[in-house]
């Protein structure tokens, strides 16, 4: 099996909502098979940054982006790149679990393959992705039950399986545990640490303890600017910037 190798390099990325500038000249590097946590107060551009990486940002009416996002050295904003193909390489998990309500557990896990026109039996791929998302043992006897019959935490792991089934190189997670209870949150965090072995992960989180627990690197955003990006331990113990220190010690935000 081929290991997905990837590196994200963001260069002078600017994002706009009509004339409002939501991201200002952001530069970030993400190493292969590492976890980057993105933290910052509400409205600082964390989610916008994440959505720029797989070109989901531009789906909002009036939203545009400039700059470069290199994934494996290829600029996803280059004019000859199809955003649909970018999204197949860069999977995404959202804040609220959003399995397709009309589909079974199996069909949800297979949705990416089926909707993208892959024709063969999906059983093997579905089992693999459900195992990777640590859901297999809980659902293997009822794969054809409705996805909505699962608990919130299970639904979120199903969404992770759905994203993994199309074999992306990068996984983006937008506050994946903020709608879940502490036990489900702990399972998701454990899962992130396992997935780190195979994927490059960027996770937006409101929860600084979570960032400290799961990530290798942490980026602190404030008012659309990347204030500081450093190894997680350094951000939380010895940040370079005063604003970072104020935020991680709870003085604002």
């Amino acid at each position: 099996m081929q290991q997905p190798q990837s590196q994200i390099s963001v260069q002078s990325l600017n994002a706009f909502f009509r004339s409002t500038r939501a991201l200002k000249d952001v530069n970030v590097q993400v190493l292969p098979r590492s976890v980057l946590a993105v933290i910052g107060p509400s409205g600082c551009g964390k989610s916008t940054f994440l959505r720029c990486l797989n070109r989901m940002h531009e789906l909002i009416p009036g939203a545009t982006a400039t700059g470069q996002v290199l994934i494996d050295g290829q600029d996803v904003y280059s004019s000859n790149v199809d955003p649909v193909m970018v999204r197949r390489r860069v999977g995404m998990v959202f804040q609220r679990p959003n399995p397709f309500p009309t589909m079974s557990i199996f069909d949800n896990a297979a949705a990416g393959l089926r909707l993208n026109g892959v024709r063969n039996s999906y059983a093997e791929q579905v089992e693999k992705s459900l195992r990777q998302s640590a859901l297999w043992d809980e659902v293997k006897d009822r794969l054809h039950a409705a996805a909505t019959s699962l608990s919130g935490g299970q639904q979120q792991r199903l969404c992770i399986a759905r994203a993994l089934a199309v074999e992306p190189e990068v996984l983006l997670m937008d506050e994946p545990a903020s709608a879940l209870d502490p036990i489900a949150t702990a399972r998701i965090e454990e899962l992130i640490r396992e997935l780190r072995e195979r994927y490059t992960i960027v996770i937006v989180t409101h929860n600084m303890q979570q960032a400290a627990r799961v990530s290798d690197w942490t980026a602190f955003f404030y008012m659309g600017e990347l204030v500081e990006c450093a190894p997680t331990e350094k951000i939380f113990t010895n940040p370079k910037e005063q604003r970072t220190e104020d935020y991680v010690t709870g003085k604002f935000g």
Binding site: R88, F100, A163
Partner: protein
């Protein structure tokens, strides 16, 4: 406490008034069912459903060709009406936020307000005149024109109810926009759209005016779209205005059959709507 007594009196009076209004509103509904059952039940027989109409004076016979004709006309109307109506609704919901969407929405509103006899005239001009003959096709076009605006608006509403996070989930998997619309968004809204389809079918099945000079009538079985076709409504109209007792009896029986068909459609759609709400 003077004010309290007065308020209590007004409250009771208004409650009594609303109750009376409900009873009065139920009178026509109940009397329609009652009258049709009383007058039409005697005319129900196997041959009513299976036989062709007979000439005056000859006993027996039925309206089998008209029942089949109504199903044929409505089915053909669905072939034209469903893709256009549902497609328009999908467009309005997914891309209808600009001036073009507003224009389309305005046009569907106008179209849904056009009297059905006028729709019949339009179908006459569009299909009957160029083909030089009355036909099932012309009737189906008229019925489809009636179905399209209601279907479009109902589909738009149902598709707008689909949460945007499902759309995003599909797009984030690298599914193209058109496939997301058809396979995820429309699929999720489907049970609501089926309800709308059943309602518009039952409405189309009950129309007489647009069929009078489009599909006309036919005394025989017809399976060809380019030939005049019998329909229950036109058959009821012809029988009801005739002076013959046998025909008038058949009109009552046919009306009962039509009412049962339409009620069945409506009840099914209500049932689907309710089970959908429970499922969500």
């Amino acid at each position: 406490m003077k004010g309290y007594g007065r308020r209590r009196f007004v409250n009771m009076a208004m409650t009594a008034f609303c109750g009376a209004a409900v009873l009065i509103a139920l009178v026509p509904l109940v009397s329609v069912f009652w009258l049709l059952l009383a007058k039409g039940f005697a005319g129900l027989s196997w041959s009513l459903f299976t036989s062709l109409p007979t000439p005056v004076g000859e006993p027996g016979g039925g309206v089998g060709n008209a029942i089949l004709g109504t199903l044929f006309l409505v089915g053909l109307a669905c072939v034209f009406g469903l893709p256009i109506g549902i497609g328009t609704g999908l467009f309005l919901a997914e891309r209808g936020n600009g001036p073009i969407g507003d224009a389309v929405r305005f046009v569907t509103e106008v179209l849904s307000g056009v009297p059905s006899i006028v729709i019949g005239v339009v179908a006459y001009g569009l299909v009957v005149v160029p083909m030089h003959r009355f036909s099932a096709l012309a009737g189906a076009v008229a019925l489809a024109l009636l179905m399209i605006p209601t279907l479009a608006r109902a589909t738009e509403e149902m598709v707008r109810l689909v949460p945007s996070h499902l759309r995003e989930a599909a797009l984030a998997l690298g599914v193209p926009q058109w496939k997301t619309s058809l396979r995820v968004v429309l699929r999720t809204a489907l049970s609501g759209i089926v309800t709308a389809i059943l309602l518009s079918v039952s409405r189309a099945a009950g129309e007489t005016a647009p069929l009078l000079f489009t599909s006309l009538n036919n005394q025989y079985w017809n399976f060809r779209p380019d030939q005049p076709t019998a329909s229950l409504t036109v058959q009821i109209f012809n029988y009801a205005i005739s002076p013959y007792e046998d025909w008038i009896q058949k009109a009552w029986a046919s009306a009962l059959v039509l009412l049962l068909f339409v009620s069945l459609m409506n009840l099914t759609s209500r049932f689907l709507a309710r089970s959908r709400l429970r499922g969500a």
